[in-house]
Amino acid sequence: MSEPTTTTAQTAEKPQESSGFRKGFKGQGRDKKKGGRRDEEVWTPSTKLGRLVKAGKVRSIEEIFLFSMPIKEHQIVDFFLPELEEEVLKVQSVQKQTRAGQRTRFRAMCLVGDRNGHIGYGVGIAKEVATAIRKSIHNAKQNITPVRMGYWGGRLGAPHTVICKLTGKCGSVSVRLVPAPRGSGIVASNIVRKVLEFAGVEDVFTSQTGHTKTLMNSALGCFRALQASYSLLTPDMWAQTAIRPDLKARFSEE
């Protein structure tokens, strides 16, 4: 048990100031940058999956897709797919009525894809256009999904079309993708063609019904149709495979 200390004139002196800490400083650290914007080059994962990815425990993004794990950080996608292309489809202003007037924000819709079987669609809303676009890109990366490609006729060369007839719906717009022979190209409207090009589909016939002028619904309908490509159990998947623990269970000690 320590003896009670007594305060003397010597001990009452203030300790030596550490470097960088001045008297009277009101609490704002000198090292703290104004604006609060993080340096994007240094990624500090905030999720378990992010930590595993940064530590190199996850070999490819397909492992994440295999276990249907949600991606909450866009840096995970940047880690595996550094060559992703981004395109802003539309930016529109949306308003909300408040007692002080109208509050206007901008909503941006964005596509990301590597033209090799991965496609993402995202939406971002913010007070400024640039921020909305940035948010939509991050959201699109988090929503990235694999696209299963296939053949129309003979299995020669690389897969060039969708695996089978696919349908995706959003709102009133229903988008149907039909496999096409090699050389047909993408027979679709402008916005659906863009989504399919980003996914890496080379030949496909499409059909749209509903109010197709709604760009967001058309793009999202096509995106959902492509998402459905891996939701089908085809005969080549019938063989029984060993059940493996998912990434979080496998690296639970990390």
């Binding site: 981004e86 395109e87 802003v88 539309k90 930016v91 529109q92 202003s93 256009v129 640039a130 676009i133 940035r134 890109i137 006729g153 003979g154 007839k165 349908t167 149907r176 039909v178 096409a180 022979p181 050389g183 047909s184 190209g185 027979v187 679709a188 409207s189 402008n190 016939f205 499409t206 059909s207 749209q208 019904t209 002028k213």
Partner: protein, 429 residues
Amino acid sequence: MLPNLRLPCPVCSMEGERIPLIVHMKEAHKLAVPRLPDLLDPRPYLLLLRARISEQGLEAFASSRCFIRRSDAMVCIDRSLQADKDDRAAGHVCVLRHALRRAQLERTQACYVRGCLVCRDIFRGVRVRDYLKHLEQTHRMYLGNPDNLVYTDLFIECLADRLGRGQCLSCDKVFPTQGLLRQHMKKKRHLRVDGKDHSLDCFYLVNYRDMLDGPEAQRESAWGKGSESEDCPDMDALDTPWDAQAEVEGEGEYAGLDLPDGVAEAWEGLTVPGSQYQTAEAADTGPSVKCLLCESGCVSGQAVLDHMIHAHGADVKAYVDSVSLDTYGCIRLVNYLRAAYDTGALSTVEGGGGASFPPHPVCLSSDPHPLHPWAPRVLAGGEEEREDCYTVQGLSVRFRGDDPLLRPYQDDDEMLCVVPGLAYMEEDE
């Protein structure tokens, strides 16, 4: 009266719009022309008046047969003056003849270019009545009988100006934003032009006929006499406001924004919709969709199907249902029709200007055209190729691995997206 018309002064060589001209005549020449605003197009009448004044002099013509208003010391032309009546009638006949010619031109020429007043569709190379039909059928906006309308391009521009200012077409109320205007017009169903708005009378042919003083004066003086008159000025020589190449331009709402690097390139050229009534940029839309059986173009694939029914009597949907075509069959049908039309394989309907629609593929001829969807390919040994046979509900269709009819015959063919959709509902998912 037609907007932005340059009216000639009957005394000097000055030209101007209606109100500035009236003010000029009053201040410079102390002349008042009665009922000038009542005339739908007073230019020929003013030209005839100028000819008379130049012959007889202003004081002689106006003072010998009129009264002088002592309050403002002006001269005016007596309404009962027969010469003035004849000039008015002759001028009216000129205007009516020009309006009729113009109406006939608008009925036949398919060169109208404009964006829709309500949606973002752009119409290129269509007749004016097709544009009005789109407004009526798609947006329930009825502007009048197309046969009764004249100077329709100016009419649409007038309406577009009003809508752009936030003014309702029916009740003339002005709203601060386009969204409120649209909401008001939709809620109150104010999608018709106000019948009591006389500023738009010049766009309806029936008003040209009823412009004169009653039917008696119409029969006695104007029609028989004015039509034979050689003094009637040549309206076509006057500056007519017909702009068939009006380009629709709209400014992006977000032009000049400072965007981060890498995103600005993706942002360039992106069109951002503004108000509901703002017309879209011309560069954002693709070309019109060509009909499968003739050279005419329509704004969309569905419009082509409607056109084929009305113009050629070809109901593609009924045909697809009758032979139970599936998606691939529809694609081959479209490519076959495109190729056959270009190569002249389809027979031409006499006087119709379009190709006939095959009622059934096997009925075309005993020796089907090589481009026929169901024509089997004969191999070197004389046998028919049987590879990749694909049977469709009772109709045997042979798909080859390199079937040329499955490749789009025309680039960006919207019919390949529309026609297969007709078979979509029939197939099992």
